[in-house]
């Protein structure tokens, strides 16, 4: 079997590494470049251009140059905000659909774009090693959910790599940091990259790197700071008589490039001169940006890393004083204000001794060597970042595996039927920390089928949830009465075939945006009707158990929802449906009690 390489598949840059002679090293490409921009450009030939060369044509060919695609990995249309869609290449996808990138009438899923980057790294590694490379450890943000991890795995497969392990970026960085040191310490890894933020707290002892807690935000990074800076420059341009240039992709790409450069320069300089000649035939931009001004612009974005850090410390049951070192990883931690904030939160000067761009890939290479058995005095014990649960009656989430549980982990749950002779039960699997099911990620559904006919409540089906060392969920069901066991295929909401994607995009092209809007309205109405009718049924049964003011709130929510349905206001329907759902939380639990009472009475009657 061939060697396993480590890959950091980043939002902005990707890096490959391998352990040679006991030391992890970065694999440079043919031109000696160590970082490969995660950029894929289509045009000219049949095969796209990847990396530095692709980055170069970003300005000339913004519509066909794809960057920051990691933000779309494993995401559904409904999860992406409009501002996130604001990239220079066309993306579509709404509601339950995956995000699709459209280039020259061809449709690409985010994992296909990532696969191009992986293929390039694979090629570079093969050239360097002089042998075929078909196995890799790939890193993901610690806060990635099940769907995002699965999608990353798929990207590897498309690129012809067997993904031997998915590991978390901050944990990988901690391996790179701690490998040579005989550490007995608690460390925090603060990882702010191009598109994601992670904080992980680890306890390192006797070569075991045990993650105590992790938290983060998969939509927070240097990209957001760039965007803020671009908006600022656009306003300046308009104020200086350059007009509104926000509509021109080419101009935007040029501003974007300069904004990014200015941001980087301000990490080592107090001020920088931004100069972009001939943005239009009559306007050139010259602006002196100070670090202070930059910090005012980016301050609130950087401050958004604070809460995850506090949360991670709470979850690890540690105070800043208990943490020995805070290690900075990710390109954005070069920003002085970021270093200052990390220092303030953890009450100590952050450690900047590791290369923030390369540490993650080096750690992945170390883990690859652990797996192949070449390193035996080191072990990684990671955790699952998000609570895993299922939707229960009343649209609540019932947690089965809490966040920060050490993986691998298994937990069992018993299910039964709700009506006589029910032959199948469908279960919705969720990830997240919110109480209401709808506020969490739905990572898929699975069906327990072929249940032998029996009265309600009699069948007993044990379901075992396993989260493996990749942080990926597997479900096994067993009929407790018959002992029959089977693996249950979870139907991931974003797991769609290429054909389905083609059809989906074709449909949306043919019917245009209007129809997408119509469909959304239709779906919203169907959902609203469901909730309204459930509420009415519940009111019939439990009206007398409600307080007058509760009743008033529910009545008002019903009235409001009916009004927006009449108006056909999609966003209004969605909002008011959520409102009604909230207003009826207690009603739902009352109904549950009432129904239970009835069942008991009925059973007593039968006796």
């Amino acid at each position: 079997m061939g060697r396993i390489i480590g890959i950091d598949l980043g939002t902005t840059n990707s890096v490959a590494a391998i352990v040679e002679g006991g030391k992890p090293i970065v694999i440079a490409d043919a031109d000696g470049q160590r970082l490969t921009p995660s950029v894929v450009a289509f045009g000219g030939g049949t095969e796209p251009i990847i990396g530095h060369n692709a980055n170069r044509q970003r300005i000339l060919n913004p519509r066909k140059t794809i960057y920051s695609v990691k933000r779309f990995m494993g995401r559904r249309g409904s999860e992406i905000k409009d501002e996130d869609m604001f990239v220079s290449y066309p993306v579509t996808g709404s509601g339950e659909e995956p995000i699709v990138i459209v280039i020259d009438d061809k449709h690409y899923l985010p994992e296909e774009i990532s696969a191009y980057v992986l293929k390039k790294l694979k090629g570079d590694a093969e050239r360097y090693l002089g042998e075929t490379v078909d196995r890799a450890v790939i890193t993901v943000p610690a806060y990635f959910n099940d769907a995002q991890r699965n999608t990353t795995k798929k990207a590897g497969e498309i690129a012809g790599l067997k993904v031997e392990r998915i590991i978390n970026e901050p944990t990988a960085a901690s391996l790179a940091y701690g490998i040579d040191k005989k550490l007995d310490a608690k460390i925090g890894v603060y990882d702010l990259g191009g598109g994601t933020f992670d904080i992980s707290i680890l306890d390192i002892k006797q070569g075991v790197f045990q993650v105590l807690s992790t938290c983060g935000n998969t939509r927070l990074g240097g990209d957001d700071i760039d965007r803020r800076l671009i908006d600022f420059l656009l306003k300046k341009i308009e104020a200086c008589g350059g007009g509104d240039l926000s509509g021109s992709l080419m101009v935007l790409s040029r501003i974007r490039e300069e904004a990014e450069k200015a941001k980087c320069a301000l990490s080592s300089h107090d001020e920088v001169e931004i100069s972009i000649p001939f943005l239009t035939s009559s306007f050139s931009l010259k602006y002196k940006l100070t670090r202070k001004e930059f910090e005012e612009l980016a301050g609130d974005i950087i401050d958004r890393t604070r809460k995850p850090c506090l949360q991670a410390m709470m979850d690890a049951k540690l105070k800043p004083d208990d943490i020995d070192e805070i290690i900075l990883v990710g390109g954005s931690t070069r920003i002085p204000l970021v270093q200052q904030l990390a220092g303030e939160i953890f009450g100590k000067t952050p450690n900047t001794s590791i290369n923030p761009d390369e540490a993650v890939a080096l750690g992945a290479a170390i883990q690859a060597n652990v797996l192949s058995g070449h390193i035996s005095n080191l072990l990684l014990l990671d955790v699952t970042p998000l609570s895993l649960g299922i939707e229960t009656y009343g649209a609540f989430m019932n947690v089965i595996i809490p966040r920060n549980t050490t993986i691998p982990t298994r937990a069992g749950e018993l299910f039964t039927t709700a009506v006589d002779n029910q032959s199948a039960v469908t279960i919705q699997v969720l990830q997240g920390e919110r109480q209401m099911a709808a506020d969490n990620w739905s990572i898929g559904t699975f069906a327990l089928e072929d249940i032998a006919p029996a009265p309600a409540g009699v069948p007993r089906i044990g379901v075992q949830f396993t989260i493996d060392a990749d942080g990926i969920l597997h479900v096994l069901a067993r009929d407790v009465n018959t002992g029959k066991e089977k693996f249950v295929q979870m139907k991931s909401t974003i797991d769609v075939s290429k054909d389905q994607v083609e059809k989906m995009v074709r449909d949306s092209m043919e019917h245009g945006k209007e129809d997408a809007a119509k469909k959304e309205l239709f779906d919203a109405k169907v959902e609203a009707d469901k909730v309204l009718s459930a509420t009415r049924k519940a009111l019939d049964k439990c009206m007398n158990l409600l307080q007058q003011d509760e009743r008033n709130i529910i009545d008002k929510a019903i009235y409001d929802l009916e009004e927006v349905i009449k108006k056909g206001d999609t966003a209004g329907i969605k909002d008011n449906t959520t409102n009604l759902n909230r207003a009826t939380e207690r009603l739902a639990s009352l109904l549950l009690v009432e129904t239970a009472k009835e069942v008991v009475e009925k059973k007593a009657g039968h006796k």
Binding site: E164, K205, L310, L379, T405, P408, T409, G462
Partner: protein
């Protein structure tokens, strides 16, 4: 215990190692370094090689957990057969569950009670009146803060005031938690000198203490959540 339904099947009789023939208990043969199906009457205490009693030596617990993890973690059997890999996944999951249960006093005591009663610890709603009163008082403050946070925060002096209150409550919750643990230690002392048959009254005392811990831990996570939200 619902979560254990599928794990009970793992219990077996003490047997000989499939690889070298030495008798073993647990899931690892230390004679020939082979991972094996779980044998013997194992519980979380015996898995982690600590005494089955209300208080455990935390340093030893952690050391054993790390040492055993080294042996059974799936990373160590990466190139082994599918069957062995599956064993590693099972053993490692069980070990993780055992450790997370025993390191948390609340979970540990609940688990111990369930072993003594040979079933799941009954979930009763009653702690001491004093703890209940503190719980209610603190919950009121938490509700108030929650409303404040939901409205968007804003008022800085009110925010500081709330944060101070929350931190005060947190400290009090921790003090109360420690006091309950002191009580657990007293039960533990008596536990050592008591035979299995005569432990019923001790188990009963533990049950009340486990409710106290349960309320206090719930309150602490509620307070923590609000501290993060308001910070």
């Amino acid at each position: 215990m619902v979560h254990e339904v599928l794990e009970h099947d793992d219990k077996g009789k003490r047997v000989k190692c499939l690889s070298c023939g030495s008798p073993y208990e647990g899931f690892f043969c230390f004679d020939c370094h082979t991972i094996l199906p779980i044998s013997g009457e194992m519980n979380y205490f015996s898995i982690l090689e600590v005494e089955k009693r209300p208080v455990v030596d935390m340093a030893r617990l952690k050391e054993n957990f790390l040492r055993l993890s080294e042996k059974v973690h799936p990373d160590r059997y990466f190139n082994a057969s599918g069957e062995v890999q599956d064993l590693a996944l099972k053993s490692s999951s069980l070990l993780n569950k055992a450790y997370s249960t025993l390191k948390d006093p609340k979970e540990r005591i609940r688990y111990l009670i369930s072993l003594e009663n040979d079933r799941e610890a009954p979930v009763s709603k009653h702690a001491s009146t004093e703890t209940m009163e503190f719980f209610i008082e603190a919950s009121d403050v938490c509700n108030e803060v929650n409303t404040f946070v939901k409205k968007g925060g804003g008022d800085e002096s009110l925010k500081r005031d709330y944060l101070r209150k929350l931190l005060g409550l947190k400290n009090e919750a921790i003090d109360r938690w420690k006091a309950v643990l002191g009580e657990v230690e007293r039960v533990d002392k008596e536990w050592i000198g008591t035979t299995d048959e005569n432990r019923k009254p001790l188990v009963k005392r533990l049950l009340v203490l486990s409710h106290e811990l349960s309320y206090l831990s719930k309150l602490q996570s509620l307070i923590d959540e609000l501290i993060v939200a308001i910070s």
